[in-house]
Amino acid sequence: MATIIRPRDERTQPARIVPGYPQTPLRNPREPLVRREPTLSELTGPLEVAGRVKLLGGDIAGHGAAQAIGQLMHLRVRVLDEDGAPVGGTVVEIWQANAAGRYIHPNDDDHAPPDPNFYGAARLVTDESGAFELRTVKPGAYPVPTGDGWWRPPHIHFSVFGKVWLSRLVTQMYFPGEPLNAQDRILNAVPDAAARERLVARYVPPTGNPHNALVFEHQIVLRGKAATAEQP
C-alpha cells in the first residue's frame, strides 16, 4: 500500500520561532529547511510499534480508593488519514498534568502538588476504526516559568506513529471554552483560526452513559493519502 504525502498548508502548522517562548530561537534552524520530495525511505516507517514498546492502556484515572483527584472525564478520539480513512493499529502515547496542573516529571517544580493516584501517562493502540478512549481526569492549567504571566491552558499531549515516517505526529489537544486558550503561545503559534479550532476537543452533552464523567470527543488527522490508480 503506497502513501502519498503532499506539502502541508503552512498556515495550519505552528510557526517555528514564537515570540515569548525563549527556547524557540535557540533551537530552531537558522538556515531554511531543505525542500525534499519524499522517497521510499520516508514513505515507509515502523508498523507494529506496539511490539517494541510497553503498552500502558488508556485508563489512567484510577479506581475506588485509588481514584485520582479531579474531574473524571472520558475522551473519545479517532485517528484518521487525509482521506478520512481510519488509522487502526497504531500506537498513541498520551501524557498530561494532574488536576492541579502538575506533571510527574523531574523537570516539573513544586508549583502544585502531585497526586499519588495520578501518573498521567497512557500508551495504547487504536482499534480498526482508528478509535481509542482515554479515561482520565481533566488536566489543570499551569504556569510556564518565563516570568511574564504565561500559563498553559488545560491540554493533553499526544504522540502518534501512523503508517509511514512522515505521518509521525506530536501534538496537543485543548478544551473548549477555556479563557487561557486565547493567550497560549503554543496554540496560537498556528496562524489559521480554523486549524487552531481543530486542536480543541468537542464537549459532548450528557445524553448517554456514562453520567459520572465529562465526555469529550476529538479527531486527529495524520499526514498521508492512499495512492490510487488515477494518481501518477
Partner: protein, 178 residues
Amino acid sequence: MIPTGEATLGPFFPPRYVDAAANDLTQFEGRKAQGEVIEISGRVAQEDGAPLENLVVEIWQADAQGIFRHPADPRHAQADPGFFGWGRAATDKDGRYVFRTIRPGAPAGRQPHVNFMVMFSGLLRILKTTMFFEDGPDPVLSLVSNRRNLLIGKKAEPTLVTFDIRLRGENETPFFDD
C-alpha cells in the same frame, strides 16, 4: 482532510516512554538482525553550543540488504525478520544519544542512510534529517550542495559512527521539509 497541527513535545515527555533497549535495533522478536553491528552516537546542541538533555531522537532505516520493513517496499517480503528498523533514544546530560543498530544496505537508487527525527521542548515541529555513511550519488544528499558534509557520519572506530546534530548555529545540521 487537513492534517492536525503539530505542537512541541514540551519539557514533560514521560521518561518511561524511552523504553529500555528502545535504542537497540540489533534484535527483534528473539531473532538477531543480519549484518554488521554498529553504534551511531552523537551530541545534540542548541545555538549557544549548550548540550540538550532528554531530547528525544528517533531513527528509521533499511535492513542490511537495503529493504524497509513496510509493505510499500517492493522487496519487503524479503525483509530481515530480525530487524525492526525503528529506534528511540533520549540524550544524556552531555546531550549524547546512542543507537546500536546494523549498517543498512543501499535501498534502490540510494546511498545507505538512516532517517533521524528530533523532538524536544522549544521545537514546535519535529525536525527531520538523514545521516549518510559516505558521500555518493543520492537524490536527497544532492539537495544539500554546500553543506552535504554535515549529513555524513564520521567513522570514529570501525564500528562506531558519530553524527552530531546542531539544531542552530555553527555547523548547523541541514534539516528537511517534505
